[in-house]
Symmetry: C2
Subunit: 233 residues, 2 copies
DNA sequence: GACTTTAGTATCACCGCGCTACTAATTCGC
DNA sequence: GCGAATTAGTAGCGCGGTGATACTAAAGTC
């Protein structure tokens, strides 16, 4: 179990085939959907793939992800966030040895696409993807869930104004569990995250809902004790 | 702001120089220390670097990080965890275009090293590192702090048995803020994470402390509401 | 105009958290 | 010896956030 520390290894950067792969997530009919593109090259086994490409020249990884998002959507979503690097031996459509995954979130209203190109697939109805792409998609949803209470990701999935019921529905989708209405609103109020507009939206039956916008105000630094009850593993 | 979605880009994985870079962290005299190796090659500007190398052949990224840790320490720490990929244009000692950072944690007792090789540096007294290595070190500490309440990382920085005061000190080091003793222990007790041994350790003055070991037992699934008070940005 | 549906609020009990204050067991100084 | 100092560990209190039930408000449906 214990080895002699050998002479320090002569490190060298080795040329490696690299890709940047993007998971665009948007709400769709009460679920979450992922944007996939048609695999052009015939040698690729699966019909659909995540948008991906290699960074060009001196292009930074995040810039490559942004370029991919623009090229695929025709519009700019929020800045893509990195998930992590995937460098096991699972197969990649372009046979990249290492892939760096990113996710980007778009509100429902931005999901107009030309025919014959990319298309949305509900999370539960994804077609078969290359194994590495499958892993990147799963990791994307995990990453969004994990970062949900550190970063205001939920608002990227909503239009500029929204009802509190819509906001709660987004949280429930991302967390995959129901939330308590009164508690949700109380916590939201206490954080000064949203402000009401003058508009109300009447959607079919029932009382109209007031529209809110994301407007983070005063932030109380809220450093709490340690949580031991979330430990996994 | 809006572009026509051009014809789908012809994606291709491009050869890129890649490195795996490791941040080994261990407690040292009431602070945290990082393991650095002497830069062998003269063309490298800085005298010290993080241990790094390119993955070999079909080697997975995590396996390369484990190999680096063994080669540098002469012993196996816990499995290294990935931080993320670093692909901006900050300079890397081996001029890698993309670097994948990992961190590994070792308890104090494992930090015996031969002379003339790698050495420990306190977090506050790090020598000048290549800009990308500096960024990886900072990201490593952030990642450990962020994952502290999801993963039992703190116990990797302690020997198999430890006192509760030592455990609390590790948490305070990683979080960089003081914690309340009574609250810390109450939360720990409620999580059934540790169990007492029969041993007590008398360390200089004061009442001896009981030794505990990490032994996670019954886990109550504790799904709580949403936190809005941690949002940054 | 009663019923249904959805939005939003009030109230209460509980529990986790931070705080202060206390007890317990050891070493140090004289 | 014996009290002071030092460190370990616990008890009790009050505040505030959480989740539950139950309520009011405003719209559509028949």
């Amino acid at each position: 179990m214990r080895e002699r520390p050998s002479s320090p290894p002569r490190s060298a950067a080795r040329p490696t085939t690299l890709s940047v792969d993007l998971v665009v997530i948007g709400p769709q009919a009460g679920s979450l959907a992922v944007l996939l593109t048609r695999a052009a090259e015939s040698r690729v086994r699966e019909r659909w793939t995540l948008p991906w490409d290699a960074p060009r020249g001196e292009e930074a990884l995040g810039d490559a992800a942004t370029r991919l998002a623009r090229a695929t959507l025709g519009t700019a979503p929020g800045t893509p966030e990195q998930i992590r690097a995937f460098g096991d031996n699972r197969r990649h459509p372009g046979d990249a040895e290492v892939s760096v995954g990113f996710f980007a979130l778009v509100p429902e209203v931005e999901r107009r696409l030309p025919d014959g190109g990319p298309a949305w697939f509900g999370r539960a109805n994804l077609p078969t993807l290359a194994p590495r792409h499958r892993a990147i998609v799963d990791a994307a949803f995990d990453a969004v869930r994990d970062r949900l209470d550190q970063t205001p990701l939920a608002f990227q999935l909503l239009p500029p104004t929204f009802t509190l019921t819509e906001l709660q529905a987004i949280y429930e989708l991302l967390l995959d569990r129901p939330l308590h209405k009164a508690s949700f609103r109380r916590a939201l109020q206490a954080a000064y995250l949203v402000e009401p507009t003058e508009e109300w939206r009447s959607e079919g039956r029932g009382r109209p809902a007031q529209l809110f916008r994301y407007a983070p105000h005063k932030r109380r630094d809220n450093r709490r004790g340690v949580r031991f009850d979330l430990l996994t593993g």
